[in-house]
Symmetry: C5
């Protein structure tokens, strides 16, 4: 799963009907920008975890979406199992 | 999801029967060109949102299509939640 | 969907049984070479449209194939809606 | 399947409900970092085998996950069939 | 589909139960190394054809595998239809 930072959002008046009501965020992944649907409630500056592909569509009720925010990261630490 | 700009369209007389009636647009994604089916009605110069993979096929009635225009962007602004 | 040019074909005597009878073409996509199953009848030099992933497999009767030629392009022109 | 090395883990309080109870590891794949769910029990420094895409989601009970650790490598040797 | 050359194999004692009995080969694809399950019987030095993604999983009885060897190439020649 990719990690990215929310940089803004995009708006589309003309779109597939099945996308009505979805929020689309602009995400900077460090190696390019992509758009992801958001149902978690991320805002600008949040570092988020993305699911892509069919997985994202299924998460968004089978809408034609191939990237979705599934989590907002607390921090990126290091966890060593002991 | 990728954002791209419509640069033209492609035509194919010889093709899979299940592609009959589909419109295929050339899309410049900033890092390469691809072809996407369009059922939203995008035209040259439009900035569009693309769904790729199985998601695109399902949106296009299970045709052998792996990229589809699902929205035409109004603008790319920044939306800060308050 | 990717556009590529057919540069030749590949042959495999030892293969998954479910690949029997499939034609595999070498395709130059401009950024690397890949192999795609062909049921449209493309030949060397043809510019073709490729479907990839599960979409290609489904088009090829669920064979373990992740790229397929689905159309032979007539030309790459520009189509402006008026 | 990609090979990567576990470099740490990520934590998210706000996330999709269906991700509750999953462990997410940071993985260095040599050409970038990604996050993968872990049900095998990998720890920092382990070299792991990753499954990606819908395959990973299915392995994780259809959660919105597109990368999962499916094995911890013993060693990377060379095996010649004789 | 990608073409690659078998360079060795990998071993994992700790792994998902559903991977028991699978052979995993290291494959050099020319632009990076990956691991693929092999049920065709490829050995070191063989040039092989790979299926990736859900397609590979389905070929391997729905195991959490996203790359599989599906053919061993005889030769890479050029085939012109006449």
């Amino acid at each position: 799963m990719k990690i990215g930072t929310v940089t803004g959002s995009v708006w589309a008046t003309r779109k597939a009907n099945c996308l009505m009501g979805q929020t689309f965020l602009l995400i900077d992944t460090g190696c390019g920008e992509l758009v992801a649907a958001d149902q978690v409630g991320a805002g600008k500056g949040d570092r988020v975890l993305l699911a892509t592909g069919t997985v994202a569509s299924r998460y968004c009720m089978d809408a034609p979406i191939d990237a979705a925010v599934v989590a907002i990261l607390d921090q990126e630490g290091t966890h060593v199992r002991t």
